[in-house]
Symmetry: C2
Subunit: 235 residues, 2 copies
């Protein structure tokens, strides 16, 4: 009985990793679509959303079944709850990729202009955050998750800088207002992906440390090393 | 034992409703701050965030304790999972209110201009969605939740219209680019609040119907009247 439960936890973990791969791929495709002004890739992102949504449902149902199956131990319970939260965030990462793809589809009809924003670089930073957050989940390591939280500040700064520069551009060159706005909104979407990566990292820490580090209460409550994850981290 | 568990469910429900009240209040304050260009209200929103974050933690811990306490029945399990998801959405509603307040703080230093966007009306529609979603939760009624999903389309249209009009304004009057952009981003924040209200409504339906209506699969899977909530809806 316990073994079947353990197997269930491993399956849940695998499912979430596949879901993470899909979400990451969606962001990468959307970013590349922006760089190449590539409608084809935009459509791939839009079509990929169905699969992401379907995965979200399957993971929620699997988590539900595990909770219903037997009384999980505290650490397994935390793991399952973390999975359901990470699951929601990954689905929303997919939504942001769709938003970006839609914005790129709006852009490709407009004249191409050189804008004071490096979407490629910002997108790469954000993708790295998602990847790292998932690695932290795979490894069950709070330190890796902590690094993601720090990367978020960098992305925020990139977005703020872009904002200031793009407003200037719009003021001085009203003829490129729409392109500037598209770029600005894509930057906002990327910032939101970074926020979701941050949420995922926090959920990993919640699971690993059995403490809630959200909202900067790390110092008060976290107890590193305490109650390390025993389930699902090794199979 | 069962009674203590039942009491725990009622407490969880009460806590979530209080949290909902805080989130709703934050959005209303942020909207009013925009209308009156009222820095005082902006600060109230910013300060209120601490309380919202604290509530989120308490609710998550209470849900965790209930799950750990004993083997919940399927409907109670769905209820507790719905609460944790609604909890996340309410916290993010609070975040959006903070974003709006920060944008208002940016605006008040700029000359006041008349813009082709009715933030007051859009804000009222969005607040109504949050309120209705919470009512659906209190009553445990899928029909009420369904109504919220339909309201979301209206808000989306309002935002799209505003977008088109504001881009035109920015093109023709570069001197008001920054105010237009602030208004546009506030409209996006309100749209996101509407998205969270939609998520909450979907979670209520998930709980009430025991079926997953997310991602428009209502027709396929939903079974109205099936497995009506017995826990926590009456105390």
């Amino acid at each position: 009985m316990r073994t079947r439960f353990q197997q269930g936890l491993d399956d849940l973990r695998e499912k979430l990793l596949r879901m993470g791969g899909l979400a990451e791929q969606a962001v990468d495709r959307a970013r590349q679509a922006y760089i190449d002004r590539d409608l084809n890739r935009c459509h791939m992102v839009l079509e990929g959303e169905t699969l992401i949504n379907q995965s979200e449902r399957e993971i929620d149902e699997a988590a539900f079944d595990l909770l219903a199956m037997q009384q999980p131990m505290a650490v397994d319970l935390r793991f399952i709850l973390a999975v359901t939260k990470i699951n929601s965030d990954l689905e929303r990462v997919g939504d942001q990729a769709v938003n970006i793809a839609e914005r790129v589809m709006d852009m490709v009809d407009l004249p191409e202009v050189d804008l004071p924003i490096d979407i490629a670089r910002m997108g790469a930073a954000v993708s790295a955050m998602v990847r790292r957050a998932l690695e932290a989940f795979i490894e069950g390591k709070a330190e890796l998750a902590q690094a993601v939280l720090e990367m978020d500040n960098v992305v925020d700064r990139m977005k703020d800088d872009a904002f200031i520069q793009l407003v200037k551009t719009m003021n001085q060159h009203p003829e490129v207002v729409r392109q500037s706005l598209d770029a600005l909104l894509i930057a906002r979407n990327l910032e939101r992906v970074a926020d979701h990566a941050t949420n995922i990292a926090e959920d990993v820490i919640f699971w690993v440390q059995g403490a809630d580090v959200r909202h900067n209460i790390t110092e008060e409550h976290a107890d590193p090393g305490h109650q390390a994850p025993t389930s699902a981290s090794g199979s």
